[in-house]
């Protein structure tokens, strides 16, 4: 039996080791490329063990380094963190396989550098998932931003550099100017940087200031991409598709909403929020973002841009779920982290597959190509159904819980928001398979999709269906998360 400390270390260090070993193997591309999936398997194994231990009612923790009195780098696995850690590490396996196919199929330059920072970003995401205190959270939040910069600017052309500047200035700017002082404010008020399952602010903070503190957190966590600080996400789409798939549909943005949920539940606490109504304004901001970005998505012809706006809208579901301050909604929000991750990574995989296989990136070019790439478009169809929330796909569970939560906290309008957005989702996502299968082909294109791209796409597509039937352990985790201590 491996101790919990070692288990956490194994899970966190395997991507770091991949990152450090990749440059050593740069002259042997095959070995170098195998490292990614291998690291993914090891750290997923660790993440599964950690999740199992949470289900057994234990709380793995690890104190790594004491910087000064009261400041340390420590890791604690919470139910929420266990879920995010599992999502990030499991999807890393498939994304790593996919990126081998994509990078080779597309003949990208600087592949070694790409794999180094890819693994580094996963490492940072896992450290965020298991962060034991607010400072550790902040540190790795920044590490994640800095490690994804070389990935966003991978093409090293003018456009990539411009996008990179926007990406950095929004993410670093908001986190340094708002998130850091918000964290220190909590530190000053509660006297420690620790978090607790039911929140730490109740009784320590004047409820009058709570909405302001919350606003600092909400706008400080730029990675959650709430309006008006969402611009970095569409800009980041200049990156190669594996980056958009794993990082900008899963690791980075989920780190954002994960942090948001963690702050709402473990710093503010659901009870404190519902008692003081500090998050009421956030409900409306998230609803607004949710609808507006869905509408913007309709008008985007570039596949990745449409998916990016769809992601922003789906992230707002999660923030909204947290802001509703009811246990049902929080459970729904947490489940949405998993189901949306599986669904959206599939959609991005498809976008990359179409780009590599047929050199197409516009939706209007897709007419009639469904017959030449049936599996790929089928995967897109299934992934879309999950995002829309149609059974038997995983996405239906999270939407179901979110709506129940909205009803529980008495926001009837929010239920309407969910319904309208579902219709919009269906509209902008279904256009793609519909064009592919039912429209007439305009021109012939030679299509060649590597197996390393098709396989992970189909697997993640299959995962979205599996999630519908095997949601139970995750639901148990979320109920542990919202239970009172």
């Amino acid at each position: 039996m491996i101790s919990f400390e070692n288990l956490i270390l194994i899970t966190l260090l395997s991507p770091l080791l991949v990152c450090l070993c990749t440059p050593l193997l740069s002259s042997r591309p095959i070995l170098r490329d195998i490292l990614g999936p291998l690291g993914g398997i090891i750290s997923s194994w660790g993440a599964i063990q950690l999740m199992a231990s949470i289900l057994n009612g234990e709380q793995p923790r690890l104190e790594l380094l004491q910087i000064a009195e009261g400041i340390s780098i420590s890791f604690v696995v919470s139910p929420l963190g266990a879920i995010f850690g599992l999502v990030a590490s499991v999807l890393w396996i498939f994304a790593a396989i996919y990126s081998i196919g994509y990078m080779r199929g597309n003949k990208e330059k600087n592949q070694t550098r790409f794999y180094i920072f890819y693994a580094m970003a996963v490492h940072a995401a896992l450290c965020i998932a298991y962060a034991g205190d607010l400072l550790t959270l902040f540190i790795f939040y920044e590490v994640l931003t800095f490690s994804t910069y070389p990935l966003v600017t991978h093409k090293q052309n003018e456009m990539a550099q411009k996008a990179g500047r926007l990406y950095m200035s929004i993410l670093v700017g908001t986190s340094v100017i708002l998130l850091l002082p918000a964290i220190i404010w909590v530190w000053v008020v509660t006297g420690s940087l620790e978090m607790s399952q039911n929140g730490v602010l109740d009784g320590n903070m004047n409820p009058e200031y709570a909405p302001y503190l919350l606003a600092m957190f909400v706008f400080g966590i730029g990675k959650a991409a709430l309006m008006p600080i969402h611009k970095w996400l569409p800009a980041a789409m200049v990156a190669p598709t594996p980056v958009s798939a794993l990082l900008h549909a899963v690791a980075v943005v989920k780190a954002g909403v994960f942090t948001m949920l963690l702050i709402l539940t473990n710093v503010f606490g659901i009870d404190f929020l519902s008692k003081t109504g500090a998050s009421n304004w956030l409900v409306w901001l998230a609803s607004f973002t949710l609808l507006t970005t869905s509408i913007i998505a309709i008008y985007k012809d570039d596949i990745k841009a449409r998916l990016a706006y769809s992601t922003i809208s789906q992230l707002s579901y999660i923030t909204l779920g947290g802001a509703l301050a009811s246990s049902m909604a929080t459970q729904g929000a947490t489940l949405h982290i998993i189901t949306h991750a599986a669904g959206k990574i599939t959609l991005f995989f498809v976008a990359g597959a179409i780009y590599v296989g047929a050199k197409m990136s516009k939706i209007s070019e897709l007419n009639g190509h469904g017959k030449s790439m049936p599996l790929i478009f089928l995967a897109f169809f299934v992934g879309s159904l999950s995002i829309i929330g149609v059974p038997p796909m995983g996405g239906s569970w999270s939407k179901f819980f979110l709506m129940l939560g909205a009803a529980e906290s008495g926001y009837i309008t929010v239920i309407a928001v969910f319904c309208i957005s579902t219709i919009l989702n269906a509209y902008y996502l279904m256009e793609i398979p519909a064009r592919a299968f039912f429209f007439k082909k305009e021109r012939e294109v030679k299509i060649k999709i590597p197996i390393l791209i098709t396989m992970p796409t189909l697997i993640t597509c299959f995962l979205t269906i599996l999630l519908f039937f095997f949601i139970e352990p995750f639901e148990n985790l979320t109920s542990i998360m919202v239970s009172k201590l």
Binding site: Q66, P181, W185, W187
Partner: protein, 497 residues
Amino acid sequence: MTDILIKNLPILVVLCPLMMSLIVVLIPNIFLSWLLTFASTFVAFIFSILLYQEVQIHSTISYALGNWAPPLGIEYVIDKVSIIPIIIITLIGFLTTIFSSKMMPDEINETSISKVYSLWLLAIAGLIGLVTTGDAFNLFVFLEISSLASVALVAMGAQKDKQALVAAYNYLIIGAVGATLYVIGVGLLYGITGTLNMADLSERVVDLKNNKALIAGFGFMIVGIMVKAAVFPMHIWLPRAYAYAPSAVSVLLAATATKASLYILARILFSVFDIADDLIINTLSYVILPLSIIAMFAGTIMAIYEKDIKRLLAHSSVAQIGYITLAFAIGTKASVAAGFIHMFNHALIKGALFMAITSISFYIQKRVTLSNLSGLGRAMPITFFCFVICSLSLAGLPLTSGFISKLYLIKASISADGLWIAILILFSSALSVIYLWKMIEALWLQKPKKEIIIKENPTIYTSLLIITFLNIYFGLDASFVVDSSIEAAEKLVGVSK
């Protein structure tokens, strides 16, 4: 034997470089004069470590010069406050002396090198004396010793660039005005209290509340010291002096000179006078606080528009001094501690950055401007690596020493109900990323104009690596800096505040 050594440490740490400077001036050999300088700075550093241990045991060490008991005789006081600047000065003095061994012969005539090293030691001795003395007038003497030696050192830059003469002249005149103001203040206080001993002064000023002469004396002293500490807007001598001084001198001055004056400022504000006094409260919140905030932004904005890198770093120093005085101005125990933490960390950060930039200028044999930095990062990987790490530290990125400073500074200002101050601090440090990024982008992303092949010199990069390592080390294990700064702040403003 060791007993006598330990007992006389407070004076030995000053005398060691002071006496050696008199010997070095007579030695014509370049290497020998460097070696003696190196030995004496190293010994001074060891002494300061010993003093640190002594202070941990005895808390305050008072040394009566020539056995004349204070308050009549001159008293040297080493306590938990003054030990911090002593360590900074001796540590940086020691590291920059190693660094200077290759730089000096490159920039200074062979015949003047031993004189430069003599001035070098004199400046270091002056700075150490400045922080050890417990006597207000003796302080003036050391202030002048260190200033005049520094002025002469800056002027030595004229062998490479004639601008150094203007810089040195500016520094001399403004510095002299500052010192004069200070000594007028001391005179006024002496007139009404009849003592020059600082501990004695602090007891006597209590009875003299609202005395006009006292207020005037206080004002003169504070303004005089603020000139020396380059507090905005009395900083105008600083950018030129740092920019045109010889390389090693820039490093030494940037890392230590203003720190000593900032320490004196804290000592006068909190130790000679009382923090609870209206006079101090008003000075802090209506003079120093606004000036510090302006300094933070003015320095940063000037740095953003500056093309000459040494001047750019000097402007950034003005902003960083703003952080330190801001911490003092908030006036709580936590904030004063944060000021001392940043004083220590900034010495390491700015020392390292100046070392990196002056090494680049040594390698390319040109003044370093933004345009001739392009593409150099690949040609000198070690220097570039250190430069990036220390830039990140200056910007306050997690896991570097600069982050610890920011963390405590922000925490202190939020605890003192100054959320808006915290946001301003972070905003200005986010702005500082702009100029740091410009330099890194030039070094790394831009293509070099022509192929450059540079062989990095181990004697130059050793001290750079050491100081960069310290920047990371104190970011990961900050307990030494944090604990001693908190103790210093407790001593200055009292435990309760």
